[in-house]
Symmetry: C2
Subunit: 215 residues, 2 copies
């Protein structure tokens, strides 16, 4: 389910297939049987947003598969917050990361909050749910994992053909996955306080992807 003209337009221009469109006027060039003329007060009732948009689209969930990994792939181990997943998908789009592998306990990428926060990036990033342990064992490329006690990422030579694993908001990467990771990396803290919380997973992803791509 996607709300708002911009996101719906991007989904219509992608591999996503429309099921039904609910809108208060005919905005898009779609077939008649896909369109349901809907008054604004009814759109308000079905909307997930605080400020409902003038159009709401219902799309079929696409089948997504991983091909051979030729470039950097991001993998998430149990990310639960829809806003964080949405931000990470948007970052993958910006930094040209085609494949995002999510553990089966990661929040659903078709959750309306995720769809909304990706701002259309969901159409350009291939999001696949997998048993992360089996996925890592099936690959023979280097895997980087982010840990508080990892090596300083600014001093590492990062390989592009690799998997970057990020962990759950509260618990990080779980021990079973940790055992499968070849290199532990970390963003050093420059502020001096020991009270400082570690970076949020979405902001950490921003910095790691920047480090991978900057050279």
């Amino acid at each position: 389910m996607a709300e708002g003209i911009k996101v719906i337009r991007e989904l219509l221009n992608s591999d996503f297939r429309l099921d039904k469109l609910f809108a208060s006027e005919t905005i898009f060039d779609i077939s008649k049987d896909q369109f349901v003329l809907t008054e604004e007060r009814d759109l308000k009732k079905i909307s997930f947003l605080k400020t409902p948009q003038t159009a709401l689209g219902l799309f079929k969930i696409p089948q997504q598969n991983l091909g051979v990994l030729e470039d950097l792939t991001v993998a998430l181990d149990g990310v639960r917050d829809p806003g964080n997943l949405g931000t990470i998908i948007r970052l993958c789009d910006w930094f040209g990361v085609k494949n995002l592998v999510c553990s089966t306990d990661t929040v659903d990428c078709f959750n309306p909050k995720v769809i909304q926060s990706t701002m259309g990036s969901i159409t350009r990033v291939n999001v696949v749910y997998k048993n992360l342990s089996e996925f890592l064992q099936s690959q023979d490329i280097v895997s980087y994992g982010t840990f508080m006690d990892g090596e300083n990422v600014y001093q590492k030579r990062l390989q592009q053909k690799s998997v970057l694993v990020l962990g759950n908001e509260a618990n990080g990467i779980n021990p079973e996955i940790e055992n499968l990771i070849s290199e532990k990396i970390s963003i050093p803290q420059f502020g001096k306080s020991q009270e400082t919380e570690s970076l949020n997973v979405a902001t950490a992803t921003a910095i790691f992807l920047s480090e991978f791509r900057r050279n």
Copy 2:
């Protein structure tokens, strides 16, 4: 107003001065007249959170002043989202940025949502509200501004003693401020689509601060 034991403990251990603490049991070592024994169902009523915490503290808003700027200072031009401001304060704490200057139309840093999302970082970052145009005119250090058409930040030699200006979520940096900026910088896009939205202001801040501090 701050909710939750961790945040309240950090505020108590800082320059912030407690006015009243509402909690269902005596947790902190504070004077009797500051403590209001409050049942959980009443805490629920006064809480700003969906999942109320067991303690809620009311603190006096501190007087904060800018000293002489000896190191990197971050300035925000009209950031409106409390979550973005909270994330940026947390990033300043992580990257050792002491001073954050906010334009007067930036969201209030003492908004409960901001306090909550800073995770205690608000006690370690000096947040000052100023007329941004007057502030920039009063400084004779280099100012960097983030623009879509700025120079590639990865190829710039960044000066630490400077001001980094970030703009509003929808409109970026306003033209009056743009005229006062010495260097325009930008994070290049690696994905190929023209539909990709620019990075969110909080994730962009993460990458820029990383670039300033990494060398």
